[in-house]
């Protein structure tokens, strides 16, 4: 993908951001060049809870997170593991501050998160369904 196409995609995303519907399905996406077609819920839990940070073909994954208390992040973890973000943070603080796991890559908003996934074949993240572009591949749909 050329830089121009990437820039147009990001501009389109920025336009869409304001019209993201409340409670619309969240989707887990990867780079379209990633050979993984779909993931199970337990594989997603392993990935985002730092238990086994790899795709089913054992290629290493780079989970991309939204910063802080982003509404989509709160909704994602409630749907995925049924936990409030405070408990997810408590769980991750165990992994991070013992040095057991590398922390995820953090992004300030959905646009930056999508741009990172488009640029990294190993990246995986979650976005509202309306932000999917042809450069992303959906591997799981939550709260359908």
């Amino acid at each position: 993908m050329t830089k121009l196409t990437q820039a147009i995609t990001i501009l389109l995303l920025m336009h869409c951001i304001g019209s993201v519907q409340a409670n619309e399905p969240l989707v887990v996406v990867v780079n379209k060049a990633n050979p993984v077609a779909e993931l199970s819920r337990s594989e997603l839990i392993d990935l985002f809870m730092g238990k086994y940070v790899a795709f089913p073909n054992d290629d290493m994954a780079i989970p991309v997170e939204l910063n802080g208390n982003h509404k989509i992040k709160v909704e994602f973890y409630q749907e995925l593991v049924g936990m409030p973000l405070s408990r997810v943070n408590a769980y991750w603080s165990r992994l991070r501050f013992t040095g057991r796991k590398r922390a995820a890559v953090f992004k300030a908003n959905e646009i930056d998160l999508i741009a990172f996934i488009i640029a990294n074949k190993q990246a995986i993240g979650y976005v509202p369904q309306s932000l999917i572009t042809e450069d992303l591949k959906v591997v799981y749909i939550l709260n359908e």
Partner: protein
């Protein structure tokens, strides 16, 4: 002393501040700065047994005092992702220490090589994986309780291991199997009412197994270490015993040699499990310390805990215990009347590691925000005679006592 501590503290803060500035300026995904902190207040009602977080603390809390030193700390961490396979981590934890130094404040400093999804290796300073919580017992935000049960964790003075570890992870049967092997050496302090002993261990070899099925997890750990130095109290006692003439104590030299700790093995074992269903969380751990040394008794400890979550609030109860044999001097042919003071000293050293107590705890954790929590906990401890190692005694008062201790902590991550 104060100047040295100030200098070490300044160096650590400067190093971490430089990391923070670098991370912010570069806005680089490869460099992250984070931390954790606890502001903790402790109140207890004992005049004789001073509460302390672990045996490495030379300060304690007595009746009528409100202490902020035992549980307050600040942890700062820098993570540097060097490449897809390599990353480095540095962590410093500022807290009240008996022998403060940059070395003691540094809890993590390692280079990791992630070979693939299954294998990873770390070289440098890592957290000790002796029991379930020993790696993260100071990260108070990470667990529900105001503090990890002293019965199991109060006896461990080590905060890090210098060496290497290798971890193998594998998916299977709907969960993740993990095996970790680690090796290295470590140092810590053990304090009494009037002394601070440096404790060195070497030839640490440990293995840790876990099976994680998300809502339930089991761990089994075993570590073997060799004591690498002779505590000063031991050395003085051995010298005193060897000077006793034969007519007062035949074969006193044989007994004195049996007190030597250097080169003796100590084994740490732990089995633990956790199960979560709906709003309930149950956990339990059994741990055991066994040694070839005559001075260290067999110590069996454990706890079981249950918590219930109601929105941002968690209510919990814990029962914890620790048991060990008490030594009573019973050597044949010894003139105990003449050597009364020496025998008193022998009993003191031989029972130094003897911990015998049970605690019931009730608590409430409130997640004020997603990264800030407060915990209020009441401990009711039934302390047995000659079993108060986990507490600090200002006098020879070693009698049984029932003690109430209250904790109020504010913990956060950032």
């Amino acid at each position: 002393m104060f100047l040295v501590q100030y200098k070490n503290l300044s160096c650590l803060l400067l190093l971490l501040f430089a990391s923070y500035v670098t991370a912010n300026e570069t806005e680089n995904d490869n460099f992250q700065f984070s931390g954790f902190a606890t502001l903790g207040a402790v109140y207890t009602d004992s005049d004789h047994h001073g509460y302390r977080k672990n045996v490495g603390s030379d300060g304690a809390v007595y009746s009528g005092e409100v202490d902020f030193k035992q549980h307050s700390l600040l942890g700062l961490q820098a993570d540097w992702s060097i490449s897809s396979g390599f990353d480095a981590v540095y962590q410093g934890v500022l807290r009240d220490l008996p022998e403060p130094s940059l070395d003691r404040y540094t809890t993590l400093a390692f280079l990791r090589y992630k070979v693939n999804a299954n294998w990873s290796m770390r070289f440098g300073r890592t957290a000790p994986d002796l029991f379930l919580l020993t790696e993260y017992r100071d990260v108070d935000f990470s667990y529900i309780w105001a503090t990890a049960p002293n019965e199991v964790y109060g006896i461990i003075p080590f905060r890090s291991i210098d060496g290497a570890d290798i971890t193998y992870s594998q998916r299977g049967y709907g969960g993740i199997f993990k095996t970790k092997l680690f090796a290295g050496s470590s140092e810590g302090e053990i304090t009494g009412s009037s002394f601070v002993e440096k404790v060195k261990i070497k030839d640490i070899i440990g293995v840790s197994f876990s099976y994680d099925h998300f809502n339930w997890i089991i761990h089994a750990k075993h570590t073997q270490v060799t004591i690498d130095n002779e505590p000063q109290a031991n050395t003085l006692l051995i010298e005193a015993i060897t000077q006793v003439p034969d007519f007062l104590w035949p074969n006193s030299k044989v007994f004195a040699e049996s007190l030597l700790m250097t080169g003796e093995e100590v084994n740490y074992s732990s089995l633990s499990g956790q199960y979560q269903w709906q709003n309930w969380l149950a956990s339990a751990e059994w741990s055991h310390i066994a040694s070839d040394s005559e001075v260290i008794p067999k110590i069996t400890s454990g706890y079981t805990a249950l918590s219930y979550q109601l929105n941002a609030h968690q209510f919990y109860g814990i029962y914890a215990f620790t048991e060990s044999d008490n030594y009573v001097f019973d050597e044949p042919g010894v003139n105990e009347e003449v050597l009364e003071e020496l025998i008193h000293g022998i009993n003191g050293v031989m029972n130094f590691y003897a911990a015998n107590q049970q605690t019931i705890s009730l608590g409430w954790r409130w997640d004020i925000t997603n990264s800030l929590a407060s915990s209020l906990q009441w401990n009711y401890t039934k302390l047995e005679e000659e079993g108060s190692t986990l507490w600090l005694n200002e006098s020879d008062h070693n009698e049984a006592e029932n003690i109430n201790t209250f904790f109020l902590t504010l913990s956060m991550i950032f």
